[in-house]
Symmetry: C2
Subunit: 336 residues, 2 copies
DNA sequence: ATTATTTACGTTAACGATAAAGTAAATAAT
DNA sequence: ATTATTTACTTTATCGTTAACGTAAATAAT
């Protein structure tokens, strides 16, 4: 079957290729009757422009990339939903790359996509990302970058985040209100800005209540394999906490499992709050009090910012931070 | 900053563009010393080939598309994980498109990507997809298509699925073994092949035990808004079931919520099994017996089949069905 | 010693589109 | 009536790469 290109349309209509191109772009340079004829033939022959030829010429690909640690996590899945919704509406395509928390992989991916393939990048870095050069490279290639959730605060780029400090402050406050005397916090990293902010919020709430914190009350589960054991140990100790905050969703499961194993009752023996967007939070045993992050909105916002910055009409690059607040949803894991 | 193209390398090294191209592709036509020089300069100038120029010429994009109903669903998220893993390993890029169960959108998406943009397509159709033309179009454009999970059985294309019939047979069997007398099944569609197969498995198990099924024992929750109400009604009826099978994960939540509302105890009053990959199944109240689908493996397998079919070395197009079995994981929602 | 083959490149054209610049005819301005 | 402008196109060049074909020199074959 013959490949339908702009040239085929041109020769069939006795017009030049350029005229076809302009007609299909509804250029004012082309008369209405001609546009009609072109559109009709294009439809009849089921013509679709060749993406690559167009992108080569225009240096635009109408494609953005999303680089993020994980997709099998409700938070990130919802973010992608938000991104995809905006992208589709504006006619953009979305490439997905997963880092699986591997900084080296993140670097590789950016190297891999920097040239020509994408018009813009949305990224949530790995918990091990400290260097910034691999992201700076994107700027050199004139590819706008926007951070979401896991940002690199030292980079002067737009960021879309939730109110990490404040929401963890409120979570801690809630545990204290529920009568907790000793609250631990459990994180996957001390490097990530979101972790730092959430831990700071926790610390501030504690100090505002004149409660001192020991070092080991911030439990660092940066190694998946040892995470359960660490939690188990901290919960079986004689000086175990009576409240715990998991600053990411994936820590919920080991906490619940450890409690079951240790015969600790939630919320009687231990009150639990997780940063989580998992819809099953409400039917856990017991139902889980969560800090619910505006994941969809974060995705939508980040994508909108990016696509706006790609639109030549509004080229004002905003380097500011957009903060979208999280919501504390109180359920049974922190009392009744 | 000057754009580093193959021509720049050529002029700096006093070679032709073609030689550079061949050298970078490690062609046997180029001498080793020349290759060295080319590679060194390319590295020094941080040269990356322009994707679009290359794709235009070679008619390959090293990009595949994944079209699926939803991403905020652990099953699909894991499938994507599997796909992405294989794609990265083989140097392919992955575009994601979400249909949100909208057939019209699915059609639009395929129209949108059919020309040149992708080398192959992995698709899991919406619950409303019955027409096949939009997928047949892909074949006309010589884009290989592979179905995963939600297949169109009437199309002669490779499919990767789990053992839907059998696993639902076994789930039903398990409920019967646990003493259930009246088992309902709850589905999101009667159109989807996976639904049909699962329901058939259920029906076969029932008839093998000489238990007749009334029509309303197959509950069709094809409308999200009415799903909860439908489930609630069926569970409050005097002739309510004592066992229920949810053939997709998203039905778990309304079932649990309805039981809570109606004060029905799981598993005493109602035994529940869901097709689910949600890791929280183990910490639900009570923990949920699941048919756990090999989601990651399905993704991996589908991607591997697709990428193999794109490799000119093995152009044998396999049109067969690959079946990867699910696993019944017994937990507390079906007894102890 | 002559011809055939291989090696290591180069030249030209093309992938399919669009940008930039050009042009003939029609219309408007003076 | 002459010049300026607008309309509706066309011509040419180019995006960056690679396929197809060409070729001079070196090597091998006869």
């Amino acid at each position: 079957m013959e490949n339908i290109t702009i040239k085929v349309l041109a020769s069939r209509l006795n017009l030049s290729a350029t005229t076809i191109s302009k007609a299909l772009q509804d250029s004012h340079e082309i008369s209405e009757p001609t546009k009609q004829r072109v559109r009709e033939l294009a439809a009849a022959l089921n013509y679709t422009p060749n993406t690559y030829a167009r992108s080569l010429r225009t240096r635009k690909s109408e494609t953005i990339a999303v680089v993020l640690p994980e997709i099998a996590d409700h938070f990130f899945a919802l973010v992608i939903n938000g991104i995809e919704a905006v992208a589709r509406e504006k006619g953009y395509h979305v490439l997905i790359y997963l880092t699986h928390e591997d900084y080296h992989r993140e670097k590789e991916i950016l190297e891999y996509i920097k040239k020509g393939r994408i018009d813009g990048l949305l990224i949530s870095v790995t918990k091990n990302s400290t260097a910034t050069e691999h992201i700076a490279v994107m700027e050199q290639e004139n590819i706008p970058v926007i951070f979401f959730d896991r940002v690199m605060e030292q980079m002067q780029l737009p960021k879309v985040v939730t109110n990490d400090f404040e929401s963890c402050y409120l979570a801690t406050q809630h545990l204290l209100d529920c009568g907790c005397k000793k609250i631990n916090v459990c994180t996957i990293s001390t490097n990530l800005e979101i972790s730092k902010q959430r831990i700071l919020g926790y610390q501030k709430a504690m100090s505002d209540h004149n409660i001192s914190i020991e070092k080991n009350q911030v439990l660092i589960c940066d190694d998946d394999a040892q995470c359960y054991a660490k939690l188990y140990n901290s919960l079986q100790a004689t000086n175990r906490p009576d409240g715990i905050i998991a600053i990411v969703d994936k820590l919920t499961l080991p906490i619940y499992l450890a409690c079951e194993q240790l015969n600790l009752k939630i919320p009687e023996d231990l009150k639990v709050i997780s940063f989580s967007n998992n819809p099953t939070a409400g039917i856990l045993n017991p139902s889980l009090t969560t800090v619910s992050q505006p994941a969809f909105l974060i995705g939508q916002t980040a994508a909108t910012l990016l696509l706006n910055s790609l639109d030549p009409k509004n080229n004002k690059v905003q380097q500011d931070i957009t903060v979208i607040p999280s919501e504390l949803i109180i359920r049974n894991s922190t009392g009744y």
